[in-house]
Symmetry: none
Subunit: 208 residues, 4 copies
């Protein structure tokens, strides 16, 4: 175990702790009102009551700022125990869709994903702050299903990890695509149908 900041700052005036939160909140507010392309760092700084330089001192640019601002949104996600794996999936899908439907997530998330295709560091930041952070939901859901006896225990740890990635991409991908690309709402019916296909497959037994 090591200190993450080997020699952080011994001297000079320390950075304002309050400013960080104000900036991220201002970023989300600006995303709601103006969307990604309308968001300007000058405007964010003004909303946060902070100078533009302060903002640039802490983030490399618009992309990094928005990743951090959006990442916080997804930390609200919970996996309440609804009694069955199918119900748990439906629940998390609806929660995820509700967050994605908020305008600050809607226009911010895909924009930074787009930018990340040409920026390795940004890609890593998204993975760390958003993707890997939310895979906990898949792990939790699987463990709970295994405890209930709905899923068999894992034998191969490597395969288990790959399955987590696959399921995460399938769940998150479907919701994102439905919400943002197809631009259709995620209803309870849709979530129900999705959970059914995910659990039983296209060729599996019909719903009831």
């Amino acid at each position: 175990m090591q200190r993450p900041t080997p020699a952080p700052r011994a001297t000079g005036r320390p950075r304002s702790a309050a400013a960080n939160a104000a900036i991220l909140a201002a970023t989300r507010a600006a995303l709601v009102e103006l969307g990604w392309s309308g968001l300007t760092l000058g405007d964010v700084a003004a909303r946060a009551g902070v100078a533009k330089t302060t903002l640039y001192r802490r983030w490399a640019g618009k992309n990094e700022l928005v990743v951090d601002a959006v990442a916080e949104l997804f930390d609200e996600l919970r996996l309440p125990d609804r009694g069955s794996l199918a119900a748990d999936i439906e629940g998390v899908v609806l929660q995820f869709a509700a967050i994605l439907d908020r305008p600050e997530a809607k226009s911010g998330l895909m924009a930074v994903v787009s930018e990340s295709t040409r920026d390795e560091a940004l890609r890593a930041r998204i993975r760390t702050s958003i993707v890997d952070r939310q895979k906990r939901l898949v792990l939790e859901g699987r463990a709970r299903a295994q405890a209930r006896g709905e899923l068999p225990p894992e034998n191969d740890p490597g395969a288990a990890a790959h399955t987590v990635d696959l399921i995460f991409d399938m769940v998150a991908g479907a919701v994102v695509h439905r919400t943002l690309v197809s631009a259709e709402p995620v209803t309870e019916d849709w979530a129900h149908g999705f959970a059914q296909v995910l659990l039983q497959g296209l060729t599996g037994r019909p719903a009831h």
Copy 2:
């Protein structure tokens, strides 16, 4: 029903047909080199050997232009008959991933999706030019599987349409999320695992 060109005007110099193709090609080339955020309409015009005014005469802005430029890419998708539904799915997933991995699609697609969250007309354009256009693949695959006896015929036409939408979001969403958000490659193994879960579900029988 409406006329697409209310007053075609017989007189005056006609628009150059060659220019359209040159502009879209230049747009893709610029996307490859500069990415979405680095792309400027002035640069596209210069690459296409065209004045900026010509470009604005035909497209409302960057978003519309990129939608058209990217949409053409996905028309390459085919559904070759590989003998089984699982193999067909794997094939189309790999093809789709190959296109998505190209830089002009990578940074262009999610960018316009992001922009579309605040622009109804753009949303419609994406749906028309990209989403609905590629749902043909799901329809084709289902018909082929039904012909093979792998899937039962449809009873309810309404439910059948909803299933197409769901499957499309699940397939496209998973590939997009894997490629762009998780930023991991879509390998044959991944495509195989995905097809298996899609067909048999998480609780279904194992592959062999």
Copy 3:
């Protein structure tokens, strides 16, 4: 002999002629209100009802702009015939001092001179637009005095040119130094004393 503008501009929208005058007038107005160091190009552009880019398209920066704005002021200088060389000198000294006392000249002139010490191109611009342009006054005054018989005709043209330069530096320098460095007013008495020393020297006969 050649055309001064060999291939000026055949194509594209021509530059607005009205803008130039508006910008120079706005520059002088801003100099009056804000002084050299308070003058910003953004403010000048706003006053002139012009975009900042238009301004940068025509001038390289603040220095060049101010040289042009100030140079116009000195074109007002005239050498009215007051009957004797001494009276002519007094007259032009008072006129020159009156212009120099205007705030737009006061703070602008020495500032660009200061900047020009590190910028050869600016030095040349000052010489062309201001210094050489006003040497006409010395030439005119000398010719008039020679016509009156107050000064002998020139023999050596080289020496005559040097003398013009010397006299110009002495007259302009004394007025500038009195006005801006010593920061004392140029009164009629001062102008009278100056003309007397210039014409008769420190060791010459007294005035009356």
Copy 4:
């Protein structure tokens, strides 16, 4: 001669005396390298090994600092006895021109003069630190010429003071204008011609 630190104070200020000199030297060095407009107080502080706050504690701003830094330069001026008034004038003109030609004086002097046109306190500081301080040279030169019998003794003390001012403006003004505005070198020939006109006037007897 007196100690500059009247109350040495046992605690605290070991650097105080050294810092002043270091800052003024750093200011001149920065003027040489960067010129007036390129000079920043942060840079001066860094060069002097001093914090920016220390600098602001002692000077009100860039202008005051530069006045002090430049004023020291002119204290080098001496009036060596060259045997005649004409020769003395030539000598001091060449010395003055040599100092003015140094880059730290060149770009600093006229810049603060320009700024002083809108700042009464700065104007006073320039007069005290530079102008009045160097008028000693005129006084000294006149006294020496009177001792030699080249100039008559003064009758009216008021007129005598005015004459000092006039001569100072004429000498300093001509050299400054020649060096900085006309941007031509002050050679021995030029100094000779200038002294001759100053002493004998334009209409006076020729040089020999």
